[in-house]
Structure formats: structure tokens, C-alpha cells
Symmetry: C2
């Protein structure tokens, strides 16, 4: 599987034109495009450009409603519950986080929770919106069920990522992680490459550790037993019950308090039914925000300067790699894999855009890969 | 190493008499005793009775100040920062959580953060205080440095537990977990038993995986390199950077926002310098708390009823085991290990209590175990 590098502005133009064609307003299009391409800039390919086709399919299937009007169904000065009415996850979430930021600026802290939404991209995007305004941001989402609880064999929880972003220099503390040991995207990569997975990532339909990514993905797609393990793996020996616990915390702050749909029931009746949670805390409620920022920055610096283990290059702090990746991508362009480019070519035909208007005379190579089970 | 079972009221009487002898008021004594024995009732031996001697030593060394008056040094309607002035962690934390609960009842959500405190026992105790009043409780603490960051070999973070407790029936969701793969207590048990540790728990002074609990504990005691790994283990392959990230989140909500001491600097200058964080959220800010509780309870029930993996008994939800353990402990008594009983006997002599007033003619057996490195 090869990669082709493209300048950010080319991919941006393509995304904007595509989302406008899908029927989104220019304001909505700008939001969705920024969430997607920020993911590619961070190096999180699974949540970037390659989602374009999947979103288009979900719009055509009626899972994502272009004209949905998200509605605040419950509100206090420090909180809101939003019904997304099956709209686009990124648009609903951007506005939900904006509302949480507005409220936190007045009250010191606020939480907004969302039900009946769709896939919202990277959790970290929304957490970082708060940090860009000097605030602490937290974002989480449930997803289609893919994680098996400790001792179980039925996928009852999503990958359930949680992101926390806190202002610091020269890089924000920016932690964005699924509560599974690995994401579905990682299994898809191993399947594409036809490599055996490390033991401890996923289990088969009997609840036994499996090294076949294709087999596990196919079980997941068929809603058969088996799935990805929680962070900590398949037993309490290495803390699998802790990853399962963090997934539950995500579920509570997304689907439970919003009275939405838990991961094990998402995707039913032709709807996404995904839920999100957002929290914002103003560090000024604890003293001088600049001093707190300095305090965190100094600690992060000490961590980065602490001695490396034999065989390791150095200690990183969370968010550093994403920022460094962003800088390199700005210079080298964004890598898009051949299979995604084939999908984009097909998409352009489908919605009436000229592929060559963006990519000149480039033609993606034929591929023998038939795609991952969805 | 043998265990002796004792009725709760006997251990309670001993703790109360001991803490009064140490110099605490009867109100403070009641708080500390309840935190310690709740830990034993939950089956978390490492944070229960066996801490009695360690607390006494720290009082004698002047690390814990009996007469400290914790002080609110910054406050808003939704927050407070408390300087513990080197007091007893349990007393400071109980009052900090009480303040957070009071504030959250008025404003919907609140956070209280504490600096210059000492070891506070189990994180979950304070989270559950909120849940007992129908609120969502969160509690975290940093500790002496014991966790190495991913790629590093110097202990820069504590075991940094985070606890989240949310009202549910028949058991609250009650998640209380260190962000290390295992706690120091687990290494101490392996050292006592002279068993090799599983690979993936801890590393030696060169940053290489070690199976010798004694060697790692001795390094930690000497502040040499090496330590316990984050949840997820020694590399990004199984998500070690995620456990490290959760430890950072704990650090941020305890030592950073309180302008306190980060784990890597605790225990200096003959002071504990431990920091805690507490948050309380009233579910009523999202709608009807009873409906939210039902929604969570139904999901927890589905998880418990979901099919077990081959070889496993069944799926548990967080808090269930603690409640079941509490019930069995109430019936069978609380197991206290022989080494702890030897320490208790010595302590009684030291502070002028009659060991036999509590334990009759019981005499703990001689032990060849010389204790874990502290």
C-alpha cells in the first residue's frame, strides 16, 4: 500500500467542495473540514481524509441528516443536554463545545452532553478548542460497540476515547486516547498488511486471544462475539479492568447523563445514536492561570528531560508528537494512502467533481485490497 | 504469611484508641478510622489497618502534623484550593470533599484541590462520599514518585489513582484504580512471597523489564532509577503512553492546579507534600437524577448479564466486588496478616495500649520476613 503526499490547501479545497456538494452550509463545511484535516495533520490517518467516503455513505443511507437542527433539551448555567437529531457529529460537537466554553467563561466550569449524534472525528479537536482559549478542555464519545468487558466476550462498549487538553508552553498537554488497548484503525492496518496481531489486543468469538485482525474485524462487522480488549488487556493481571473502567467513565459522561444510547445499542434502526460529553474548566477558579500554566510547563519540561530507558530515544509529553507531526506535514504535505485515493476518485464521480481539478493527472494504482469489513 | 480474622468492632476500637493516643481529636479519629477500615472492608489490605504503624512513624518524624489547621487559600462559588499545612491526609480530604459537595449542591458542580497534605488512604472513599448523597464524585491524589514515564527510566509520577463513583442500583458504579499497571502493594506482596513478577509490571535501573520485586522496591526506596510501569506496560504497543497520560491527568488535577508539589518532588525536606483533587457533579444539572440512575443501573445490569469468555466466571461491574467483599467481611471478620499484627503489638507497647485488651491471649507468630524497603 503506497502513499501520495498532497499539500494541505489541495485537500482542503477537495473537502470543502465535497461537503458543500453533500448539502452542508459553508459554515458547517468549514467546521467538518477543519476537524478532518486537523486529524491528518496530527498524523491520525484513521480519522482524517479517509472518512470522507464513509460520511458520504452514511448521508446517502439516511444515517446522517444534513438538515438536522440540534436542540438544547435541558439547560442550567453550568450545563446543557443537546439532542443532535441525527446531524453530523462534527457540527453538533463544535457547537456543543462552544456552548460549554461560553458557560465556563461565566461560571468557572461547565459540561455539555449530547445524544443522538454521529461519529465526531478525533476527540482531541474539541478538547483543544478550550485550551486555545486558555481553558482546560475535556471531550469524550461513545462509539459502535467494539470493546469486550473484562471476563466477557460480547462487545458492550465502544473504543470510547477521552481527550484532555490543558494549556502549556511550548506544547499544550494534549492527551487523546481510546480506552481500548488499540483502536479499530490499528486492526484495519494489520488486516491490510495481512500481519498477525500481537497477543493481547483482541479476542475471538469464544473470548480467546486472537492474532487474526481480519477474523476479529469480520466478527465485529457481523455483530458476532469477540472484539478489542480494554487498555490493560485480557485479564486483571495487567489491569484490563482499569481500561474497562475508563471506558465506563466515558460512557457515563456521554450516553448515561444525556439519557442517550449506550455503545451496545448504537447503530440500530438505521441511526447512528452516538453520544458525546464535553467539559470545560477555567484554571482561574484555582488562582492565577499564568502561574498554573508555568507550573505545568516546568513539570512537562522535566519529564522530557528525564533520562531515557536503554534503547529508547527520549521521553515525550502528550501532544508533543502531534505538534511536531503537524510541522512536518506542513512542510512535506499530508500522506494519503492509495486505497483512500481510489475512494476519493469514485466519490468525485459520484457527486460531480472533477478529480483532476485537485490532483492533476495523478491516477491511483490498482489495488488488490478489498477493504476492511465495515 | 498467615492471616488472622478479627471482628470489625475490635479493629475499630483499636484504631480509635490509637489515633486518640497519637493526639487527634475524637472527630478526626472517627474520620481516619472510617477511611482505614473501609479499605479493609473493601478488601484493599494495603491501605487499611497495615498503614497504622506507618502513619505513627510519620507523625513521630514530624512529616504529619497532628495540630495542622488546613486553610482555604483560594475560593470561588464552584471551587476551592486548600493548603493542608502538613496535616493528616484523611482529615484534610474528608473536609475538602465535604466542601466540594456543599458547593456542588448549590452550583451544580464544584472542584476542590489540595496541596501540602499527606497520604489520604483509598481514593474511592472520597468519591463515594458524593455518591452517598446522590452526586457523582471524583477523587485523585498524587503520591511519592514510583511510575516511570513511557520511554523513561526515572520515576517521575506517583501511582496516581483516580476514583469515580456514580449512583446506581444495586451497586454504585465505583471505579478506583491506580494509573500504574499495578500498585506498590502488589510488588510488596511478590517480594514477601519471593515470587518473580510477570514481565510488564516494572523496570530496573536501566529501564529494562525486571521480574525481581525486591530489586525494584529497593531501587525505589533508594530513589535510584527504575520503577513501576504505567497501565499499558513498557511501550506504546499495548498503550503504556495511555496509562502515563492518565497519571498526568491525575497530576494536573492534584498538584498542578493547586500549585502544589508534583510527585517527583514529594517527600522532600521532611515533608509529605502530597496533593489531592476532588470533583462533584450533581446529575440534576442534566435532567431527572432518578432517570439517569435507572439508565446507568440498566446498562450495568446488561454488562453483568453479558456472556462470559471461555474460562471466566462472569462479567463484573466496578464496585460490585467491593460490595460483595464488604458483606463477606462483615460475616467472616477482617483478615489481618501476621506481620501487621506484629507491628500492631509493637505499636501498642509504644503508645501505652494493652494489646490483650483487643486481641485477648492471641500472640502473632515469629516472622522471618524483614519487611519491604520503604
Amino acid at each position: 500500500m503506497g502513499y501520495q503526499y498532497w499539500r494541505l490547501d489541495i485537500l482542503k479545497k477537495l473537502c470543502i467542495d465535497a461537503f458543500l456538494k453533500f448539502g452542508f452550509s459553508s459554515e458547517e463545511t468549514a467546521i467538518i473540514t477543519d476537524v478532518l484535516l486537523t486529524s491528518d495533520l496530527y498524523g491520525i490517518e484513521s480519522h482524517g481524509m479517509q472518512r470522507l467516503t464513509r460520511y458520504h455513505k452514511n448521508i446517502k443511507k439516511g444515517i446522517i441528516h444534513i438538515n438536522a437542527k440540534p436542540e438544547v433539551v435541558f439547560e442550567t448555567p453550568v450545563s446543557a443536554v443537546i439532542d443532535g437529531h441525527d446531524g453530523m457529529g462534527q457540527v453538533i460537537s463544535y457547537n456543543a463545545m462552544k456552548l460549554a466554553i461560553e458557560k465556563a467563561k461565566k461560571t468557572g466550569m461547565a459540561m455539555v452532553t449530547v445524544r443522538n449524534s454521529n461519529h465526531y472525528g478525533i476527540a482531541g479537536y474539541y478538547a483543544r478548542m478550550a485550551a486555545k482559549e486558555g481553558l482546560i478542555g475535556i471531550s469524550c464519545t461513545n462509539t459502535n460497540a467494539i470493546m469486550v468487558p473484562t471476563n466477557g466476550k460480547s462487545a458492550m462498549l465502544g473504543t470510547n476515547p477521552i481527550a484532555v487538553c490543558v494549556p502549556a508552553k511550548p506544547y499544550d498537554f494534549f492527551f487523546d486516547a481510546s480506552t481500548t488497548v488499540v483502536t479499530r484503525g490499528k486492526l484495519e492496518v494489520y488486516n491490510k498488511l495481512d500481519h498477525p496481531m500481537p497477543k493481547g489486543w483482541a479476542i475471538d468469538e469464544n473470548g480467546r486471544v486472537s492474532t487474526s485482525a481480519g477474523h476479529v474485524l469480520s466478527n465485529i462487522a457481523k455483530h458476532d462475539f469477540g472484539g478489542i480488549l480494554p487498555l490493560g488487556g485480557d485479564s486483571e493481571m495487567f489491569g484490563g479492568h482499569k481500561g474497562y473502567g475508563w471506558a465506563m467513565v466515558c460512557e457515563i459522561f456521554s450516553s448515561i447523563i444525556s439519557m442517550g444510547t449506550t455503545s451496545n445499542e448504537t447503530g440500530k434502526d438505521g441511526r447512528g445514536l452516538i453520544c458525546h460529553g464535553f467539559a470545560v474548566i477555567d484554571p482561574a477558579i484555582f488562582g492565577n492561570p499564568e502561574e498554573i500554566k508555568e507550573h505545568l510547563s516546568a513539570y512537562l519540561e522535566k519529564l522530557r528531560n528525564s533520562p531515557a530507558a536503554d534503547g529508547a530515544d527520549r521521553v515525550y509529553t502528550h501532544g508533543e508528537k502531534e505538534i511536531l507531526t503537524m510541522e512536518s506535514k506542513d512542510a512535506e504535505g499530508i500522506p494519503v494512502n492509495d486505497n483512500t485515493m481510489i475512494e476519493v476518485m469514485d466519490l468525485c464521480k459520484d457527486i460531480g467533481l472533477e478529480f483532476s481539478d485537485y490532483f492533476g493527472d495523478y491516477v491511483p494504482p490498482e489495488s488488490s485490497f478489498k477493504g476492511n469489513p465495515i
